[in-house]
Homo-oligomer: 391 residues x 2
């Protein structure tokens, strides 16, 4: 196990109807003037935004709004949000939505007190020194941004999607009401589950030895998803399964299951170029890329793939560890398919002829390789895109 | 899953040699004048206390000291510590030790700004409104107090051992250096492992339905201990196994694996009277009481015991769920024995004729039953003591 520091001061407020307490929590966490960031139609239609507006009015907290955040959130709205905050003396950013909304809110929160371009934080040009506090009302279990210190933004100037982050961006509170996720279309629910699984797997695949605690915790979250996800696919109103998935999503990305070990994250990087170029759902892109990545790197550490196959995918133990390891990847892929996820380039709307562009974008302004488990250069990444294209 | 709030703002600083950074962390968390609370001989002998003294001197932080904390920590030292803090304008309490030291430090931290008797917080007479910040350098993986909001103190006036707690008592930081635990006697190491397991099991046994996420997380921590504990019993200098156990201990009691579900805690309550009366190690007392409690309550929810037996104790699945459930308890008891733990009254130095006194003490100043999984009155608790006495 490696040395580490872990600090997760987010207050998780979990359960049915908890979003009605937003006024109390915003006040308790020092909000005076709030910017509410959100997506669009669904939160408006469901009445959630009006509920929040009413609660904040009741708490006498002046409210400014920035709607229209889309999946794979863009830099344009971040600049707009920073302007609104500066012009109106906003001192708290409230995200009402999923990962894209939360990431936009975080990028705004970090950008407001910074003199330069917020994009500096995404290309390693600057380290964040301060940020406005962020609060969250979550509407989809997926990105885990409500409990994480990171945010991913796509720069419209070139459509590069890059992660950024700082401990300062961990939300002060996150209200998690599983009921809010009951009306999601099945495809979005499945994309969310895939994203959560991917967050665990990016941590699971490590070369750090002797990490039994976090291995077991990773497996626990995966086993939970294997058990609970089919329930919500069958019955979207299964509150209890929604609740388990939602809490798993927050834990998966809070890093509690990833400390003390090198983490990989190359599948995420490789996927980001797909969703940046085709504007496909991040979870769907991961469903295509992760199995391809697994095929490519499996022989680097058959034992780890074997362990995952036995402990999570229920494979029988065997002396033929390679076959069991491969069977695990097969079962993982079949599980994604059972959720209705695409697992090939074609299903995603991606084109084999774009692979050189994808690789070019992936290594744009990037020095060195990506990933830790098996560091990948241009050639290796191209191979992984090609495996996905042939899947 | 029940509604819940989870807030764990402790900064965990994990790894070899991290205790040398104490000056930096104490300063960062606002310490100006520090009370260092510790046990005795071993921390002095190992040179740890001198290391801390030197680091705090280097950071120019005035230091006051309170040594002599013993297992099952007493109210007397708490009063003494409160006096030292008040007389010297101490604004930060640093615990260097294990659960007893940390709990003493926490009780002092809560008592200093309170006008009444700190014991009020342990008998439900008052709710804590403020507390001095607490920091920890951990020397044994066991109580998990470094990451929890509780503390257990024994009142010398009657030898009643009672838990107290407040969110305000969560340590601001906890330095976890597994190497510091390598010199512990095997018996203490084993008591620690038993205590950690008990913290997980108190959460595991619940009547709350649909708690797959936390069930799986509990099982993950138990599986880790089953894997790692024998390694340190064989080789006390196994740093990696020590590291996994230490981090498991902090997670087990931070409540991350216990949210959203009713928790039991009757075995802890029943044990507290043993360690209060005989001054035995808490972990050893738990090794005697927990299996007895399991025998007594097993038929209340055979399915839960069956699940534990299959998932953690490696029992084969079977239609005869009751036998498998019982086999699980048997394997748990055998595991405790393999660590060198006592599993009977006699081995602990407890006497059957004291059972009426134990029951009397357990229900002293207590109204109602104890526990949640199966609420227990005087008669039921007496039965559990008798099962332990006959084990």
């Amino acid at each position: 196990m490696d040395n580490f520091e872990f600090y997760s001061p987010t207050r998780f407020i979990f359960g049915k109807g908890r979003e009605t307490e937003i006024g109390k929590f915003a006040s308790r966490f020092g909000a005076n003037r709030i910017l509410m960031v959100y997506g669009g139609a669904s939160a408006e239609r469901s009445g959630l935004l009006n509920k929040v507006r009413a609660a904040l009015k009741e708490a006498e907290l002046p409210l400014f709004e920035l709607g229209g955040v889309k999946p794979n959130p863009r830099s344009g709205l971040v600049y707009k949000g920073i302007d609104i905050c500066r012009e109106n003396g906003v001192d708290f950013v409230l995200a009402v939505g999923g990962g894209s909304v939360i990431d936009t809110a975080k990028a705004i929160a970090g950008g407001v007190p910074y003199d330069g371009d917020f994009w500096d934080f995404h290309i390693g040009k600057a380290t964040m020194q301060s940020a406005l506090p962020v609060g969250v009302i979550l509407t989809i279990a997926a990105a885990g941004s409500e409990g994480s210190d990171g945010c991913v933004i796509t720069n419209e100037n070139g459509m590069h999607k890059r992660p950024g982050g700082s401990e300062l961006l961990r939300p002060r509170f996150a209200i998690l009401d599983p009921e809010l996720t009951e009306t999601l279309p099945p495809y979005q629910t499945a994309c969310g589950v895939t994203d959560i699984m991917a967050h665990v797997l990016e941590r699971y695949f490590t070369n750090t030895p002797d990490v039994e605690t976090s291995d077991r915790l990773c497996e626990a979250l995966l086993l939970t998803l294997v058990n609970e996800a089919p329930k919500v696919m069958r019955n979207p109103k299964d509150y209890q399964a929604r609740a388990n998935i939602m809490w798993t999503g927050s834990l998966a990305h809070s890093d509690i299951v990833g400390v003390g070990r090198a983490q990989d994250w190359s599948s995420h990087e490789i996927e980001h170029e797909l969703s940046a170029l085709y504007d496909c759902a991040h979870g769907a892109g991961l469903a295509v890329i992760f199995p391809a990545w697994m095929h490519f790197v499996l022989e680097h550490d058959v034992d780890r793939f074997y362990k995952l196959a036995v402990r999570v995918w229920g494979c029988e133990t065997s002396e033929d560890r390679l076959s069991v390891a491969k069977e695990g990847v097969k079962r993982f892929t079949a599980f994604l398919r059972s959720l209705g996820m695409p697992t090939s380039f074609g299903e995603l709307g991606a084109k084999e002829e774009d692979i050189p562009t994808l690789v070019e974008n992936l290594f744009y302004e990037r020095s060195g390789k990506i990933g830790q488990f098996v560091p990948l250069g241009r050639g290796e990444c191209e191979s992984i895109y090609r495996i996905a294209a042939k899947a």
